[in-house]
Structure formats: structure tokens, C-alpha cells
Amino acid sequence: MISIERSLDTPRWQRVALPFVSLILAAIISGLVLAASGHDPIATYRQIYAASFTSPGALTSTFVYATPLLFTGLCVAVAFRMRVWNIGGEGQLYMGAIGASGAGLLLGGLPQPLLIPVMIVAGVLAGALWAMIPGLLRAYLQTNEILVSLMLNYVAGLVMYFLIYDSQSFWRDLTSPTALVFPTGKTLSASATWPGVVIGSFTLPTGFLVGVGVAVLLFVLVRGTRFGFEMRVMGDSTSAATYAGMRTRRIILAVMALSGGIAGLGGASQIGDFGHVLDPRGLQQAQYGYTGIVVAALALYNPLAVIVVSILIGALTNAGFALQGPSFPAGLVGTMEGIILFSVLGGEMLGRYRIRIGSPLRVAPADAEADPGR
């Protein structure tokens, strides 16, 4: 009889070291896969490093991928920590993009320092409101927010399509010759373009800076405030929170709005930092919301770790395009990403649980399963 039970005495250094050991393990397994498919692992890793960070323009590219993942990763991290399973970051990002582009188009005449905050607020509000739908349904009708938030991703995608392809909406460009050939959104004015921080040839997107600020705020909120304490109690046990007299409904709604608002901010950054136009196909093909779940899981749902992981996954995605070609199939890049995810999550589990051979002596606490990030 083999059983898995919670390890009660994991030293702190081990918890910190685990992800790094897992990453090294992932590099070794990936190396074997690369070697088996006829690629020199060391040369490939060198190429990945160069394509992610050191070749001309590479670092800027990496942050183009990392910025949306930072937001969708934080969106998932904050919700999953509280055991609110918001899978709707994808749709909340779309709604944020709709809100921010709408605000940017409507108030395009405002000066840049005023317009950027307005776009951010519009994106956050749109994402938060969209997330309130599964939030309210969960809080008052006990519906499963996994299903509702997931389904709403498709609805949000169709809303974007409706605005650009199927209607004469405010967002759609109805005049330019290009738009007559292929429906596109209106391009935002120059003052709605987020400037970024230019350091030599490297441009740090404004959105990434904002995202780092959000991550720090979240960290402080969860660790250092009464609201954060309530969220943590609820994250550990909903019934304990109820017994303690906490208003669990209100907390669920707040977490959902916070999570959706962050994804919506990611949508605003897509418009302000990169796209400058509401682009349904581009946003849907990118699938940032779903990748955000991977980012949050790899970061073990820690907001500060999400910053690092989003850069790493952004770098890997960026390098993935540089690597792929006739002799390097795109699937191999996906395989490597999968190996990293598997190793880090597997390592985390091995660190927190132990395998016992023989009859189980102790029953693990009831809430130990499906309990992310403690």
C-alpha cells in the first residue's frame, strides 16, 4: 500500500530551494529530449538565452510577452489563493481592452498624463464588472465559478467580434480603405499611446511597471491588512471564516472584482502599450488568460514570484519563435514548457507531501488537497 500524505516538517530553506532544484531538473530532462531529437542541448540553451535577452531587440520582445502574462498571472494568483477559481482572466482581459480602447477613443483629445490613468480605470472597471457576473452567481446562488467564468471567456470573445466584425460600433473603423477590405478597429490617438521607459535600445512597457506596482500592493494587502487576513482565513477554510463571523460573500465578490480588475488592466495595457487598436483576432490567438494560469501555478500563487515567472515564460515564448523553423518544430518548444511546469509543480508536491509505503498512520487534514500556495 502506497499513500501520499502531508509532510509536517518541511524546513523553510527547502521550500525556497525547491523551485530552483526543479528548474535544474527540468533543464536536464529537456536536454535529454533535445538530444534525443537531434539538437545540441547546450547550444539550444545558449540560443534561448540570446533570443530572450541579449540579441538586438530581444529584451524588448521578451517584455512584450511578459507584460500581459504578469497581469493574467496576478489575476489567477490572487483568486486561486483565496480558493476562488477564476478561470475567466481571458475574457476579463478582452473586456478591459474594450473598456480601455473605448475610453481612449472617446477622450482621445485629453493630454497623455490624464488619458493614461483614464484608460487604466476604464480597463480595470470593465474587467472587474465582467468578473462580478461569476462572482455574484457564486456568492448568492452557489454556482460553480469555474464553469461560469470559463464560459464567459467565449462570450467576451464574441462581444469583441460583434464590435469589430458584425456591427457599425463606435470601436470599428468604417472609413479607411484598409478597413473596407478587412474589418479593423479605430486606431487610438498618439496621446493614448503609453510611452514606456526607454533605456538605450530597450523599452520597458508602461504596463509592466504598473503591473509590478500591483504585485507589490497585492503582497502588502494579503500580508498586512485586515482584509488580507480575512481573505487568507477564507482561503484556508470557508467554514472557519463563516464561523468567525466574516462576511464570506463580500470577500468572494471583492476577490473576484480584484482578480477581474487586474486582468482588465492587462487588457488596457494591450491597447495602450502595444496594439493601439481593438483587435479581436490578435487577442484571442494570444491566449494570455489561459497562459496566466500556468504563470500563477509556477509562481506558487505568490504575487512577487509572478513578476519573475512572467518574465521567464515571456522569455521562453519569445525564444520559442526564434528557435522554431524547418529543423526545430514549434511542438518542441511547447514540450519544453510542459516539462518545466511538470517539474516545478511536481517538485512542489514532493516537497509538501511525503510518500509512505505501508498503511497510512495519519489522515491528512481535510483541506490539504487542492490547496494552492501555502
Partner: protein, 355 residues
């Protein structure tokens, strides 16, 4: 395939140790058996024609958004001399890149924008679709044809219009029911759309998608099917009628040779059946000799320039006149109605051209 003609200068400049670098940006995967596969066949033809003098590379599944700009930057970093972007959604990216990199050549499939170092290329798929439509119109028994369509955009609308006019030339009462998938390539969505058309009672299916999924649905339901992009007969031989296919190879070879010779100039290429850019796939077994003869006769008229499906009178879906008698729609004009901006369905289509 034509063999490239290179000048002495080009032959001494571009060698195995210093190859000319041609890059392709794919919206899907080369294994899609449709649109991207056809471009990949073109890339391989380039590689075969030039040998070591040209190094080809490609990036697959590149999203049509801000990320495409990064992929273009990477390709330029990797030394690309010419970049072919094979989907409309890359146009804005390519315009910006062409302005920023005047020494690199760019070509954009299905777009409209031209710059000194940015050319446009595509071809009259609609003429092939007219012929596919004839095969579908001859094959339908109950007069109901279904069409699985990607995006409600002029490029697709004109193909459905031509397909419908072709079908009604064989069966004046035929109707074409359209379902939109809002994707170029997504076999699951394509399957859903095709199955919904089968449920609506159609007995022939057509599609404008990048995968042959519609054909597999048709074969499973015992129906007939016209494909798109590539010869997809092997995916559903019993259902197969014919398909519009694109032969990108000769165009790519020609343009890369010109670029290597230094004679490349910006252009708006619109190929067709006459120059071998559009090729009808072989007929399926169920297409009768009489139908084949009718289609081949019409194909000969199109090649000779004596027939264009978009010559008036053309009646719109709502019964009003879309193109008056004696007028033929131009391929593209920045203003006014052209094949590139047509946004209405002809009579006989059941569906909403706005999606």
C-alpha cells in the same frame, strides 16, 4: 515549377556560404492541410529551385497582433533579406517594419498597402470558387448547399458570392447556407459549423477554412464536398468534388529571383487561373463527364478573359441590383465598390454577410 533565372552578379554574390535569406510568417501550422500547407509547399519549391543559394526559414502559429512585430524583428536579426507574411492580419505590422527597415523587402499576402519595399500578392480564388460552385450545384439533389466560412470579410464574401453564382448556373434554384466560424483554422469549430449545416438539411458542403474537417463531416454524413486551398481529396475521397487551390511556388521563386538579381520592384500581384496561380484540384469520382465538360469550358473562358463572375447584372440577396449590366468589378480600388471591398451576398445565399 519554373527554374529561376539569375544574373551573373547574383550568382557570384549569393552562394552556399552567403545564401539569400527568405523568411515566411505562417498564421497556422504547415501541417494544416490547407492554407499554410499550400504556402509551405511554395517554400519547399523555393528551396528546391535555388538549392544552397537561398536559405528559407519560417515561423508558424504567429498571432496576428503586436507579437507579430517581434517575430519580424527576430527574422531581420536572423538576417532575412525578404519576408513573406501570409495572412492579412500582419499588414499593419509589415507596414511599420517596411518603414523601419528600408533595406529589407516585404511581401504581404491578401493585403492592400504598398511601399517601395512592400509588395502585395494574392490571386483570384473567387474564379476557382465559381467553378467549385458549379460542381456543387450539379451535385446537389435537394438544391440545398452549405458553406463553412471563416470571417465575414470581403475576401470570404466574394468567394461565397462566386461559389453561389457558380452553383446557380448549374441549378438555378440552388441556395447556399452560410455558417461563420470566426477562425481560419480550428478543426473543432469547423466541425461544429459543418454539422449544424448537415442538421439543416444540406446535401453538399463547401468551405473556405484552412483544414479539411468539413470534408470529413460530409463523408461521414454521405454528402458531397468542395474543399479549399490544397488538394484535400485524400481526406474524404467519397465526398470529394473539387477545390480551388493556390500554387504559391512559382510566384515565390520568381520574386526571390528578382530580389537576388536586384530587379525587385514593389507590385500588386493578382494571379489567376490563366497564369497557373489558381489551379482547380482534380475532380472526384462522382463528378459526371457532362459536369466536368461544363466546368472545363467555363474555366477556359475565364482563362481567355471572356468571362468574369463579377460582371453584371448581379442581384443582391435582397433583390436589389449589386452590379449593373455591363460592369465588371475591379480587383481593388481605394474607394468605391471593388472585389476587395464587396460586403454583400448575392441572391441565393442564406446567411448574414455581417456575421
Amino acid at each position: 515549377m519554373p527554374s529561376p533565372v539569375l544574373t551573373a552578379d547574383a550568382l557570384s554574390k549569393w552562394t552556399t556560404s552567403n545564401p539569400y535569406k527568405a523568411a515566411f510568417i505562417y498564421v497556422g501550422a504547415p501541417s494544416d492541410a490547407g492554407w499554410t500547407h499550400a504556402h509551405e509547399v511554395g517554400r519547399l519549391a523555393v528551396q528546391a529551385a535555388f538549392g544552397g543559394r537561398v536559405q528559407t526559414m519560417y515561423k508558424e502559429n504567429v498571432p496576428e497582433g503586436p507579437q507579430a512585430a517581434q517575430v519580424v524583428t527576430q527574422l531581420i536579426n536572423q538576417g532575412a533579406n525578404i519576408i513573406f507574411a501570409t495572412s492579412f492580419g500582419y499588414q499593419d505590422t509589415l507596414v511599420a517594419a517596411a518603414k523601419a527597415h528600408p533595406n529589407v523587402l516585404f511581401e504581404q499576402a491578401t493585403g492592400t498597402e504598398q511601399l517601395p519595399n512592400l509588395a502585395e500578392y494574392y490571386g483570384a480564388g473567387e474564379n476557382g470558387d465559381y467553378l467549385s460552385g458549379m460542381a456543387a450545384g450539379a451535385a446537389t439533389k435537394n438544391g440545398k448547399i452549405g458553406f463553412v466560412a471563416p470571417y465575414p470579410i470581403p475576401e470570404v464574401i466574394r468567394e461565397i458570392d462566386a461559389f453561389t453564382m457558380g452553383a446557380r448556373s448549374m441549378n438555378p434554384n440552388a441556395t447556399v447556407r452560410v455558417v461563420w466560424t470566426n477562425t481560419w483554422f480550428d478543426p473543432a469549430k469547423e466541425r461544429q459549423a459543418a454539422e449544424s449545416l448537415v442538421a439543416a438539411g444540406v446535401d453538399v458542403l463547401g468551405d473556405g477554412q484552412d483544414s479539411p474537417t468539413t470534408g470529413q463531416v460530409a463523408a461521414a454524413a454521405g454528402l458531397k464536398w468542395t474543399g479549399y486551398d490544397s488538394n484535400q481529396e485524400s481526406f474524404a475521397p467519397a465526398a470529394w468534388l473539387t477545390a480551388t487551390t493556390y500554387n504559391w511556388g512559382p510566384y515565390y521563386i520568381n520574386d526571390i529571383a528578382a530580389a537576388m538579381n536586384g530587379t525587385w520592384k514593389t507590385h500588386f500581384y493578382y494571379g489567376g487561373l490563366n497564369d497557373g496561380f489558381v489551379i482547380m484540384a482534380p475532380f472526384g469520382q462522382s463528378v459526371s463527364a457532362a459536369t466536368q465538360a461544363a466546368i472545363l469550358a467555363k474555366e477556359a473562358e475565364i482563362k481567355a478573359g471572356t468571362f468574369d463572375p463579377f460582371t453584371g447584372p448581379i442581384t443582391k440577396q435582397d433583390g436589389s441590383i449589386g452590379v449593373p449590366a455591363g460592369t465588371t468589378l475591379p480587383v481593388y480600388t481605394p474607394t468605391g465598390l471593388s472585389k476587395y471591398s464587396i460586403n454583400w451576398f448575392v441572391q441565393g445565399v442564406i446567411g448574414n454577410p455581417a456575421g
